[in-house]
């Protein structure tokens, strides 16, 4: 084996009663891509955060390039050539790409000089790795996929030799993910070492050289990728056999529950994001919307859920119109049986600073169940939160824990539990399993299908083609704000991919 770029020896880390890492040993050879897989809350992000100096291990040793090192801050890590792309981006939303890249690495007192230097360096990196982004774009106006490129560029700009990526493809489309992997392979060929955390076992098989499996804070196995299978990895992760594709019966579509007609939505700058879109969702069916991120799916969901103003069109919920002026009361829509799992759980679906139990009532906080007059019924809220924690296996099962301290996948389960348990007539879901482990995906898919079988209308937006294909009874493809095609669940990936890329659409236009 080549010389080890990183060695972690006997790493232990506890957060209060939670033992996030126990006696972890890990060795990553230089110039390889090493995958780490494991259930939500298994301790993957914690382990990498220790390596990156975000947390201090309680005990254990870290060696970089064979030498024992102590990493107290991320600056120490950067100095050792370690770069990290976090699961949750660490970018300043209202800065430009360029400003974010030099943030903390400004070389001169005068910003102007640093910026000029950074610009040419950035252009070089962009060319070299095919990571195009407009250096002057404002971060919050960029789609997530591009925001991630900025994160990677940030690490490379700081001279990273070892690059840690925590669930980088959670937000990417297959095409974007392929692009990312080409970049990673290129980096590897140049001798860089890459640690990749992901829940997508297919990606592990496609790109890694070796892979480690974590479960409940321990490292349970390390394999050479070529010598293992997806099934074996899934079983190692969860400790039981997992259905990678849920079984579902024929749908029995009933009456139309959600109807969208000629909906047009513009963003704050007046750009048309949703362009004359019409479709129906019937009770007892799951309609999936596929598309590359940023093609209007987010805006579509927001308009339907009454959060965003629509320029024109009509949305009917159970036969009655929804106010599309942007002034609709989402609380009233909830009362009418519309539940919404937003794509952006961090800023929209959850208040990260809240305790778990407080988030488990967000949006339903004016429900009589949770109130005693003007007061919150703390006992009822706690009991309810505990109930959901149990049902959805949210870990750690402590409703008093601050939401920010739950792992990404468990945060997603908090939102899903809240919305699904309201027993809505219509459920709209953005990226249902983003950042969720295979075991939990199986669970969530089963729940969604169970809801369908109870006669609910389910609308799913996902950039995961696999997910769309295995869940949907009908698939709509969005491109540039329009629905460019409808297919059945047996549509092939290639067929959908072409639609998503707008190929057919453009041909038709010619």
């Amino acid at each position: 084996m080549a010389q080890a770029a990183i060695e972690l020896i006997g790493i232990d880390k506890s957060f209060g009663a939670v033992r996030a890492n126990r006696d972890i040993n890990l060795e990553v050879a230089r110039g390889t891509i090493h995958g780490i897989v494991g259930e939500n809350g298994a301790g993957k992000s914690t382990l990498m955060s220790i390596l990156y100096g975000f947390y201090q291990a309680d005990s254990g040793e870290i060696r970089v390039g064979g030498k024992p090192v102590s990493i107290h801050t991320s600056n120490d890590a950067i100095a050792l050539g370690i770069g990290m792309v976090h699961q949750h981006f660490m970018l300043v939303d209202n800065f430009t790409v360029l400003e974010n890249i030099i943030l903390g690495a400004e070389s001169d007192a005068l910003l102007k000089k640093s910026i000029a230097k950074a610009r040419s360096e950035l252009e070089r990196l962009e060319r070299e790795y095919g990571l195009e982004v407009d250096p002057d774009a404002i971060i919050e106006e960029l789609p997530v996929g591009l925001q991630q490129r900025v994160e990677i560029l940030k690490a490379l700009y700081r001279g990273a030799e070892i690059l840690i990526l925590d669930e980088p493809t959670g937000v990417l489309t297959p095409a974007e993910a392929d692009h990312l992997f080409r970049i990673l392979k290129q980096l590897k060929e140049q001798g860089k070492t890459i640690v990749l955390i992901t829940h997508k076992l297919r990606e592990i098989m496609a790109i890694t050289d070796t892979v480690s499996v974590m479960r409940q804070g321990t490292m349970v196995a390390t394999r050479v990728t070529k010598e293992t299978t997806v099934g074996e990895l899934a079983e190692l992760m969860v400790g039981r056999r997992v259905l990678l594709r849920v079984e579902k019966g024929e749908s029995e579509a009933g009456a139309i529950k959600l109807s969208v007609k000629n909906l047009t939505v513009k963003d704050s700058r007046g750009v048309t994001m949703v362009d004359d879109v019409s479709f129906d969702v019937r009770g007892g069916e799951i309609v999936g919307i596929a598309g590359v991120a940023g093609n209007g799916q987010s805006e579509l969901l927001e308009a339907i859920s009454g959060i965003r103003h629509a320029v024109s069109g009509e949305v009917m919920l159970e036969g009655k119109p929804i106010d599309l002026t942007g002034k609709a009361d989402p609380g009233e829509l909830r009362d009418r049986g519309l539940a919404h799992v937003p794509e952006d759980r961090h800023h929209v679906g959850l208040v990260l600073a809240f305790e778990e139990n407080e988030n488990s009532i967000l949006g339903y906080h004016d429900d009589e169940r949770y109130l005693k007059g003007p007061f919150l019924n703390v006992d009822a809220i706690m009991a309810d939160a505990k109930d959901k924690i149990e049902k959805y296996d949210i870990r750690p099962g402590n409703p008093r824990l601050k939401t920010a301290n739950f792992s990404g996948g468990n945060q997603q389960k908090i939102v899903l539990a809240r919305e699904m348990e309201q027993d809505p007539g219509v459920l709209i879901v953005g990226q249902p399993t983003r950042g969720v482990d295979v075991g939990a995906i199986e669970f969530i898919h089963k729940r969604l299908i169970a809801m369908r079988d109870q006669g609910k209308a389910v609308l799913v937006v996902s950039v995961e083609l696999d997910e769309i294909r295995s869940l949907s009874d009908r698939i709509l493809v969005m491109f540039a704000g329009r629905v460019v095609g409808e297919r059945g669940p047996d549509a092939t990936e290639g067929e959908l991919g072409l639609l998503m890329a707008g190929v057919e659409h453009q041909e038709a236009a010619q």
């Binding site: 009361d329 800023h347 679906g349 208040v351 990260l352 967000l362 003007p374």
Partner: protein, 379 residues
């Protein structure tokens, strides 16, 4: 952008860090005292003794603290809804107008225990109204609340001067203030409580508003952490997008929070006006609203912290007055400098020493230190 901070044990977070900040403030203040040629240790002794040494001192300290509890709570309520209410000063001033109208109308006919509740309502209502206008402008017009509340402080000052040299001034008087209230509008003192503990009191203004302030502190705790309204305010305070998603009306929540904040500010006026001066005079708030910002920050926006911070500032006011009296080289302005230093280190630079203490804790006992993403409050 949030910054990662290592999580400290609660006692360090709420006890050690404020203590260190305070000590630094006092050390720097000590140098200032040395600069003017006085002995800083003797100055410190005089300050503390002046504030807590005698019964009278304690009563004055708590009297000032009462004022700061109200303004601190006012700032904190707005801050939980991520509104920076700098208008506490003006809202308190206008609250005084409400009290003046009630007292001047009824003090000859009603006893204090009837007038007091009416005055509470009037003070709260006038303060709330003064908070409402900036809130409305923020919610409906997007005018930034910091700017508008500052402007409303000036408007309040002008309005009050206009009234105090005009309509509210008794005919023939030269002073810009209302006539003195009659006994019906004087609140009972609390000095006897301190005397119970054996301390002697000459005359001090501590009055039942202190108890009202403690009750309000409890009610604010209840509001913020135990009511639906408080939940909505905190949701909006942390994430307007999440609030929108949850169906919380931005307009309603901003206006409600600011009105409650204004009401608490207005109630502050009860303490000096009905408890001490028995009239409304020009500039009677004299900066207590701004001190409220420091008190709220130092108290970490929590009512218990606010009460403690208010007592600290009460001590600085009372002990400072004694100090200026005992040490001629130390003028009134010097006291303001010392207060300013406390505000600087305990309020504005709250997080300055935190990273070092975290590193220290991390190296002492790595087990106790986790990491946490903390939204920087204030600083």
């Amino acid at each position: 952008m949030s910054t990662p901070y290592a999580k400290l044990p609660a006692w360090a977070d709420y006890g050690l860090i404020p203590l260190i900040n305070l000590s630094i403030a006092f050390v720097v203040a000590g140098f200032v005292v040395m600069l003017v040629g006085e002995n800083p240790f003797r100055a410190a002794v005089i300050l503390v003794e002046g504030a807590f040494g005698k019964g009278t001192g304690i009563a004055f300290t708590l009297f000032y603290a009462t004022t700061f509890i109200f303004t601190g709570l006012s700032v904190a309520v707005a801050a939980h809804c991520s509104l920076f209410n700098i208008g506490t000063e003006g809202q308190a001033y206008i609250g005084g107008l409400g009290i003046a109208l009630v007292c001047l109308s009824f003090d000859s006919v009603l006893p204090w225990w009837v007038i007091f509740p009416i005055a509470i309502v009037a003070a709260a209502a006038f303060g709330a109204l003064w908070g409402l206008i900036p809130a409305y402008l923020q919610a409906k017009r997007g005018s930034h609340i910091v700017i508008t509340t500052i402007m409303f402080n000036f408007i309040a000052a002008s309005v009050m001067v206009y009234l105090l040299v005009g309509a509210l001034k008794p005919a023939g008087s030269q002073a810009p203030q209302t006539r003195n209230f009659l006994a019906g509008a004087e609140l009972p003192k609390l000095n006897w409580v301190i005397e119970l503990f054996g301390a002697k009191i000459r005359s001090a203004p501590l009055n039942i508003c202190f108890l009202l302030a403690l009750v309000m502190a409890f009610l604010v705790w209840l509001l913020i952490w135990r009511t639906r309204l408080g939940y909505e305010m905190r949701t909006y305070g942390h994430s307007p997008k999440a609030a929108r998603y949850a169906g919380i009306s931005e307009t309603r929540i901003i206006i409600t929070a600011m009105m409650i904040s204004g009401a608490l500010a207005g109630m502050m006026a009860l303490n000096p006006v009905m408890g001490d001066q028995h009239n409304v005079a020009i500039d009677f708030v004299s900066g207590a609203g701004y001190v409220g910002i420091a008190v709220a920050l130092m108290g970490r926006l929590h009512p218990v912290g606010i009460v403690l911070a208010a007592i600290l500032f009460g001590m600085l006011y009372q002990g400072g007055a004694e100090l200026a009296f005992e040490m001629p080289a130390i003028s009134r302005d010097m006291i303001v400098i010392i207060q300013g230093l406390v505000i600087l280190f305990a309020g504005a630079l709250e997080h300055m020493f935190r990273p070092y203490i975290q590193t220290l804790f991390a190296s002492l006992s790595p087990k106790s230190v986790g990491m946490q993403t903390v939204k920087g409050t204030g600083a």
